[in-house]
């Protein structure tokens, strides 16, 4: 698999072409607009919440978005994954996805070191892919396809755009759970 195919897995391309649950629906508990200011990708996202407290159910996630394949697919996969889940599960999904795509910055020294063949593999491992444990605990096959994003620091914000919107919508729609939601940030 080429690096490019590793980033643009078939699942991602498919979700980007046919976003699941797209469109804004009524009724809704909260609506937010999120934008990636470096590229202008944007999403308007609504949540409908049923119940109160930790047993609150995320009954619907609806959205309108425009952006790159990564951000479009990520929002679609997210909506498919967390719709119908209770709030603690939603927050756990957020954390798992964030861990999957997050990446430690690589220093200039590490990049230079890659020129040295002996160290290239080590640097790659240091810079690169997600911890397999995260994949196991992720609990969503489509979401696991985003593991390739970790190698592309410029794309992490794309992958997180919809998730950030979800987090903001939950903060707005569920003020009594704001402590738990904010803890995901």
């Amino acid at each position: 698999m080429s690096d490019l195919d590793d980033l643009y897995r078939e699942v991602i391309l498919d979700h980007s072409r046919r976003p699941r649950g797209a469109g804004l629906r009524d009724p809704f508990s909260a609506e937010v607009y999120q934008v990636n200011p470096t590229c202008g990708d944007e999403v308007t996202l609504r949540v409908r919440l049923d119940g109160t407290g930790p047993r609150t159910v995320l009954a619907d996630v609806s959205y309108e978005s425009q952006g790159c394949a990564i951000s479009m697919a990520s929002t679609s996969v997210m909506a498919q994954w967390v719709t119908g889940a209770e709030l603690p599960e939603v927050l756990e999904a957020y954390r798992a996805f964030q861990r999957l795509v997050a990446r430690r910055p690589v220093s200039a020294q590490a990049v230079s070191a890659q020129a040295d063949a002996a160290q290239a593999d080590a640097a790659e491992a240091d810079a690169g892919a997600a911890d397999p444990r995260d994949l196991v605990e992720l609990g969503d096959d489509d979401a696991a396809a985003f593991a390739g994003v970790a190698k592309y620091p410029a794309r992490v914000r794309c992958a997180m755009l919809g998730w950030t919107a979800l987090q903001q919508a939950l903060l707005r729609g569920q003020p009594d759970q704001s402590g738990a939601v904010a803890a995901t940030a």
Binding site: L4, L7, Y8, R17, C39, G40, D41, C68, R155, C158
Partner: protein
């Protein structure tokens, strides 16, 4: 040190840029993002290193030998840069970058309007009141738009703008200047479309109503001959790092009498005349605008970049980039789904080509290009209102400099076609 004498733009000079021999993702680097930042030849790096290893000291303070030599090097750099853009040395202010230069000008309007003139004689020409107008264009980089929005918020002045035609040219008929127009701030060359607005016409209209002309010269000074006195603008800003020079240094040009009337921006050491516990008076330009120990090695590096560009010849560089632009327009336009932004000609435009690929987001195109070792800019390129005007969220921009060659442009076209096929395949 090798000299660029008698060498022509393209592969002949590319050897001076070590980074261009790097591989990226298993391919030789094709660097087409000079509109964001250019690469530096070893002549620039050598000049900076020589200064740091032999003469480094805090300029304009201290009486020791190094302090004197460093000050001479810093002021000699100012003179070289002034000559490069057809200005006098005392009209050249060193700033952090062009953004800071434009903010320096904006702050002069804010301070003068608040009555904080620093005792500078003539500062009232920077005073704005509710009802006054600042005019910009819809194709400005955010750096020449957002500071003016801030000035309006501080002073009550109104922001207006020249629109952009469907072809991506400045729409001269979109607004009329009036006696209320105090400032006209515009780009010398769009950082997205490469278009050069009709500066002479806009300047003439501004002069007619007594408005000051502020020029964003970031995309013009690095790529062709520019004579700021001939252009007749009042103020102009550009960055060192887009013209083969270091980051952390930019230039604000101001006509002598304009700078003389400007209240200070950052205050502190170096920029004062006298300081007492209760109040201070300020130095004459350009020192008035250079608070603190300045970026001396960067100034030396930027002067070396001017020398380097001058030796090759700015007219030759401009012609070279025109050729590359024409090649890019010819090679990209037949690719199915490619929509070029801006005029489909090289008239009144510089070495920038922006486009979209139907059905594929710019970010994704950029990713495929990167996998082929090709560096371009994707996004809105800090010109969001222009992208809105063109009805697109983002675009792909290839921008050229002296070290690029036709092969780079053809590699770009090949990779764009690959991107099209990659995302169409599934």
């Amino acid at each position: 040190m090798s000299s660029p004498v008698n060498r022509t733009p393209g592969q002949d000079v590319a050897v001076d840029f070590a980074i261009l021999s790097r591989e990226v993702n298993g391919h030789p680097l094709v660097y087409l993002d000079s509109g964001a930042t250019s690469q530096r030849p070893r002549q620039v790096l050598d000049a900076e290193r020589r200064f740091v290893e032999r003469q480094n000291a805090a300029v304009h303070r201290g009486a020791h030998t190094l302090a004197g030599e460093a000050t001479d090097a810093y002021e000699a750099a100012r003179a070289t840069i002034a000559t490069f853009v057809g200005a006098d040395p005392d009209e050249i202010v060193f700033t952090k970058n062009a953004t800071e230069g434009l903010n320096l000008v904006a702050s002069a309007f804010v301070n003068a309007s608040a009555g904080v003139t620093g005792g500078v004689v003539g500062a009232q020409r920077f005073t704005l009141r509710p009802g006054d107008e600042i005019v910009v264009t819809e194709m400005e980089h955010h750096a020449n738009l957002v500071p003016w929005q801030q000035v309006c918020a501080h002073t009550g002045a109104t922001l207006r703008w020249y629109g952009v035609t469907d072809e991506g040219r400045l729409d001269l008929d979109s607004i009329r200047l009036s006696e209320r127009t105090k400032v006209v701030a515009l780009t010398h060359q769009s950082n997205v479309l490469g278009v050069r607005p009709p500066l002479a016409e806009v300047s003439a209209r501004a002069r007619e109503v007594g408005a000051m002309v502020v020029l964003d010269a970031c995309q013009s000074v690095p790529h062709g001959p520019v004579d700021l006195h001939d252009l007749g603008v009042d103020l102009a800003a550009f960055s060192g790092h887009k013209m083969l020079g270091p980051t952390g240094i930019g230039i604000l040009f101001g006509r002598r009498e304009v700078l003389a009337a400007m209240p200070p921006f950052l205050t502190g050491g170096s920029m004062i005349e006298t300081v007492r516990m209760d109040a201070s008076t300020f130095a004459a330009p350009p020192q008035r605008f250079e608070a603190g120990v300045p970026m001396a090695s960067q100034a030396v590096g930027l002067a070396a970049a001017c020398d380097y560009l001058t030796t090759i010849g700015m007219a030759a560089i401009e012609e070279h980039e025109r050729h590359l632009t024409q090649t890019a327009l010819d090679a990209l336009s037949p690719i199915p789904g490619v929509r070029l932004l801006g005029p489909i000609s090289t008239d009144d435009r510089g070495g920038i080509v922006a486009f979209v690929l139907d059905g594929v987001h710019a970010h994704d195109v950029g990713q495929v290009l990167d996998s082929a070792g090709i560096a371009v800019r994707v996004g809105h390129h800090c010109a969001w209102p222009l992208h809105r005007r063109l009805g697109i969220p983002a675009s792909i921009r290839a921008s050229f400099h002296v070290y690029n060659d036709v092969d780079d442009v053809l590699a770009l076209a090949d990779a764009v076609d690959s991107a099209r096929r990659y995302f169409a395949a599934a």
